[in-house]
Symmetry: C2
Subunit: 296 residues, 2 copies
Amino acid sequence: MMKIEKPPAPLIVPSPDDSRLTRRVTGTDQSGANVDIKVPMERPLTLYLNAQEIVTMMTIGDHPEYLALGYLLNQNMLKYDDVVTEVEYDDDLQVVVVRTEHHTNFEHKLKKRTQTSGCAQGTAFGDLLEAVESVELPKAELRTSWLYRMTHTINTMPSLYLEAGAIHGCVLCREGEPLCYTEDVGRHNAVDKIAGWMYRHGVDPADKILYTTGRLTSEMVIKTVRMGIPILVSRSGFTAWGVDLARQVGLTLVGRTRGKRFIALSGEQRIVYDQNLAYVEDESARHQRKGEGGDD
Amino acid sequence: MMKIEKPPAPLIVPSPDDSRLTRRVTGTDQSGANVDIKVPMERPLTLYLNAQEIVTMMTIGDHPEYLALGYLLNQNMLKYDDVVTEVEYDDDLQVVVVRTEHHTNFEHKLKKRTQTSGCAQGTAFGDLLEAVESVELPKAELRTSWLYRMTHTINTMPSLYLEAGAIHGCVLCREGEPLCYTEDVGRHNAVDKIAGWMYRHGVDPADKILYTTGRLTSEMVIKTVRMGIPILVSRSGFTAWGVDLARQVGLTLVGRTRGKRFIALSGEQRIVYDQNLAYVEDESARHQRKGEGGDD
């Protein structure tokens, strides 16, 4: 239980002032008047695992190395015991290459499969399901005081969402403090960047809480479980399969988190109701995510 | 311009009362009390094109035939002039098979590619981009009176969103009237179902308006253009590349549509400002999508 974290895992926060991540565009509003708004960038990034082309992702473009590692880990294409020798990012070509010491099991599988059924990506989900079924998540606590502190910080911290909308956020927290807050036009990219950051810096998942602006679907639950994190929180809602999977593996699943309100549908035994609700504010109009992108 | 639509294209509306699409689950709220909520279903559906396994999608499960056809059309795996002989859905196996008279060009390509680079899905996006660059979209009108009628109808009509949240909606309209309103846990599924419905019933895209609850990303713009629809409207925001592509092909792109407000960033010449704004209500709290799923 007492894994030591390699010390300097750099804190990651949103970069609303990074001019490469947004662009100003001029349009027309409902009265026919010119308006000037900021919109997030969206760029293709092609990922290779050694010599194997894996996928082209649409991403806002920050943290390509974390995104690449996290994608491969969360898709079970890279195992936590594979040795990564290099992550090489080429900004001009919009390519990122993850190199491992040995060929990965995934590359071997892919070779075999392409000779038969054509494309291994289609069947990856079945493998993922299998991979999470045997997981045992650590004991942990979710104090409601942490939960409210965390969501208040996330909703009020300067972010690309507040600046330009149309973006998802994902935040890794410990005891209500954000450690790694990523944003991306793809909601899965945001969580994959966190997985890559954790892997790169050897961050222990056991005492962490993962927050997402997106919905609690089967995919999101599977990723959280693969990352070894025992608690997943969202301001959005649930799907039935997401709930089933969470219950099966004992993940604490908390959704519809707004102001005072939340609903837990799995792993409730980890929740400690230590917050006096009389001291929690309802969500202010200013910090309601307007559902214009962040809330998938 | 005067294509005749095959007459009975059945109107499609959401099915909030269909018990196969939602499930009741019991959880715990912020006070520790039991709560009972409805959540949407999410099921895997594996798609074959003839003998070729294409993808496993996560879907709420209605309209699998439309979803299958629309997915293949929107991915450019099926061309509008390929002859579909059968769409076969097996509810038990959760499999849908689209059969064509001849092998499709995509299957040929896939065969060639898998012998070299392994997986053709990764490169599909480049092909799609090429496919839309040559498109010429029809002239059309977007009267603001239609726009407000349309969004009011969509926001107040009974739907799975209002019933269970965590879901995306996509609506094909003509002159402000919804003709096909689909919902799904995957936002791309919702638009793909509309593409399949249009193809199946020979619906002319030239005088249609497509509405989505999701963001206006490059993928959404590409799909709309492939479907031949000249106008795309969303309550959500934009990405920079979505805007660039829309401008390149002359698609009318309207986002952040809430109550009175909207912003057009491309194809503004199609907009006719015929609505007196004094008679448009601001969005009521009741019909704000709460961003708990529908607003990607």
